[in-house]
């Protein structure tokens, strides 16, 4: 299969899968192109973990299709699991594959992981107290709505940190002093009566009022969409605690035991790799090029991962031990001669049977997202990552790689699309594949794999 055929395959497979990430000419590295906690490229060697969904990657070495899913579970030791699969074919065999750990080495891979995240935790005090704050903030929204019904000269400004109870008292005075008027400037007794009813209801809200108080008061607002829009069951998007913090600075004296900015995730993976290649046997140092054989082997690797999160920083480290194999294919040709003419029929094969090696593997990743390039309300968000990976066969030598991807994505749907550039440095010893520097441009899309 040549490169053009692979590209056609990519074009055809993408819509069929309904979700795909294309990574054009990407180096076989682990660009965490958008997500903070998992790897959007779904690399099987990322210290940040697999991202859920599916990925189709076309690289200079071959085509790779990955899919994985993750789910929470509740156990004292384990609170999430993930399962992933990856199938790869190299383009024409010319590529030298150093390690079966590489993202686009020719193989069928799976990954089964279990772990624990500090984030998945029951936080009853945090949710209860922040719920009390949201009742206060909702009350302030409704008081503001009453204020909006007053004539301009009668409208008042209430300090953002003023509690619901105090705001209601102040607004009742404003309503009494300057009642609503209709379009003709005459007293609007209907609006005034409803405003009085709203403020009377809100007057029952105390510092400890729970969300059922809000729900019960909201039942009386159903006939007035201006007030009902702030109710949960109105169907309108309701502001979260953080957005209410922005709307009412200083009002939240309620929330307690908020999660720490520092969080962690630790997990382990078993990664079996089924790899296969045609080869020609070598007997007593002499290659038998006419004997076509195929080599297939299941290689096993176990790795442990730790990811640390602090605000916009993520740091991940992975270490493990497993089997890798070096597959170097070359053209093996049958030459037929007839008189002064000759014809060649060539195919890619490895000369000599591949020999798996045990290897230590490790990788680290440091990510910052978002980068302070775009403003808070900008449509685009950006991030950068530094990923260092190291594979060391026990027989000696190493393969090292440093990749520094930079990317941008839509702020509103960060995981759905990314565009980035990734400089990569590679250096190796024994076998010396060669040091090289490359720059890859990658673009990816990964919509949800279920209909919402």
């Amino acid at each position: 299969m040549n490169r053009s055929q692979l590209l056609i395959l990519a074009v055809v497979m993408g819509p069929l899968l309904c979700f795909a990430q294309t990574q054009s000419n990407a180096a076989p590295t682990q660009a965490d192109a958008s997500g903070k906690g998992s790897d959007p490229a779904q690399s099987f060697v990322s210290p940040l973990g697999l991202g859920t969904g599916a990925t189709l990657a076309v690289t200079q070495k071959g085509t790779n299709i990955s899919a994985s899913i993750a789910r929470q579970m509740f156990n004292p030791a384990i609170n999430f699991w993930q399962v992933g699969f990856s199938g790869t074919a190299n383009t024409n065999g010319q590529a030298e594959v150093y390690s079966s750990q590489e993202a686009d080495s020719p193989a069928f891979k799976a990954q089964v992981g279990l772990g624990k995240s500090s984030f998945i935790k029951f936080r009853p005090v945090y949710t209860a107290t922040s719920g009390e704050f949201r009742v206060q903030a909702w009350c302030r929204d409704e008081v503001n709505q009453v204020n909006n019904t007053l004539p301009g000269v009668g409208q008042i400004k209430i300090n953002s940190s003023t509690s619901c109870k105090d705001a209601v008292v102040v607004e009742q005075q404003a309503l009494k002093a300057t009642p609503p008027v209709d379009d003709n400037g005459k007293p609007d007794s209907k609006t005034q009566a409803f405003d009085q009813q709203v403020l009377a209801s809100l007057g029952t809200v105390t510092a400890n009022s729970d969300p059922t108080v809000r729900q019960n008061i909201c039942k009386t607002f159903k006939d007035n969409k201006d007030f009902y829009q702030y109710c949960d069951d109105s169907g309108k998007p309701q502001k979260s605690v953080e957005d209410e913090h922005t709307a009412y600075p200083g009002l939240d004296t309620y929330t307690k035991e908020a999660p720490s900015a520092f969080q962690w995730k630790i997990w382990g993976n078993w990664t079996p790799v089924l790899t296969s290649t045609p080869y020609r046997p070598v007997v007593d140092g002499v290659a038998n090029l006419s004997d076509k054989l195929n080599w297939t082997k299941l290689l096993n690797t176990g790795v442990g991962n730790v990811a640390l999160y602090y605000r916009s920083l993520t740091f991940g480290v992975e270490g493990g031990f497993g089997q890798t194999v070096q597959i170097k294919q070359q053209n093996v040709c049958l030459t037929t001669t007839s008189g002064s003419y000759s014809a060649q029929q060539c195919s890619m094969a490895m000369v000599g049977q591949p020999v798996p090696k045990n290897s230590w593997i490790s990788s680290t990743a440091l990510q910052i997202s978002p980068l302070p390039i775009f403003g808070k309300s900008a449509a685009l968000s950006s991030g950068a990552q530094a990923v260092f990976s190291y594979t060391a066969p026990t027989s000696g030598g190493h393969s090292s790689e440093l990749a520094v991807p930079f990317y941008i994505s839509p702020s509103a749907t960060r995981m759905s699309f990314v565009l980035g550039i990734q400089p990569t440095w590679d250096w190796n010893t024994d076998p010396m594949v060669g040091n090289k520097f490359s720059i890859a441009v990658f673009a990816g899309a990964r919509p949800s794999n279920t209909k919402n």
């Binding site: 906690g37 009853p124 979260s240 919402n452």
Partner: protein, 97 residues
């Protein structure tokens, strides 16, 4: 019994990026890709408290919906500088379908 369906978007940390508590019990969320999480379960009629807690990149927008097929609650927010946000405890009245 009614089926409660919960969907979230904008959760860049995937399966480990959010929790959903219904009636003082955590419900298992499935990462459906693209920063989306979901869960569905059966509930008796009545009024219950639920809470969504999310984490991610500071400033990231997120949304969530909770529905029993009759009533729908929609939530929207942005992660705090520490990378968190929540709906806080919220009341939901489940009706018989």
């Amino acid at each position: 019994m009614a089926q409660i369906t919960v969907k979230m978007t904008g959760i860049s940390r995937g399966a480990t990026g959010a929790t959903f508590t219904w009636n003082q019990q955590l419900k298992s969320l499935t990462d459906t890709g693209g920063g989306n999480l979901s869960t569905a379960f059966q509930s008796d009629p009545g009024t219950f408290l639920y809470a969504i807690v999310v984490s991610g990149n500071p400033g990231d927008p997120w949304t969530a919906s909770v529905t029993d097929g009759t009533t729908t609650h929609n939530h929207a927010g942005h992660m705090s500088p520490a990378g968190f946000d929540t709906t806080g405890d919220t009341a939901f009245t489940v009706v018989n379908p």
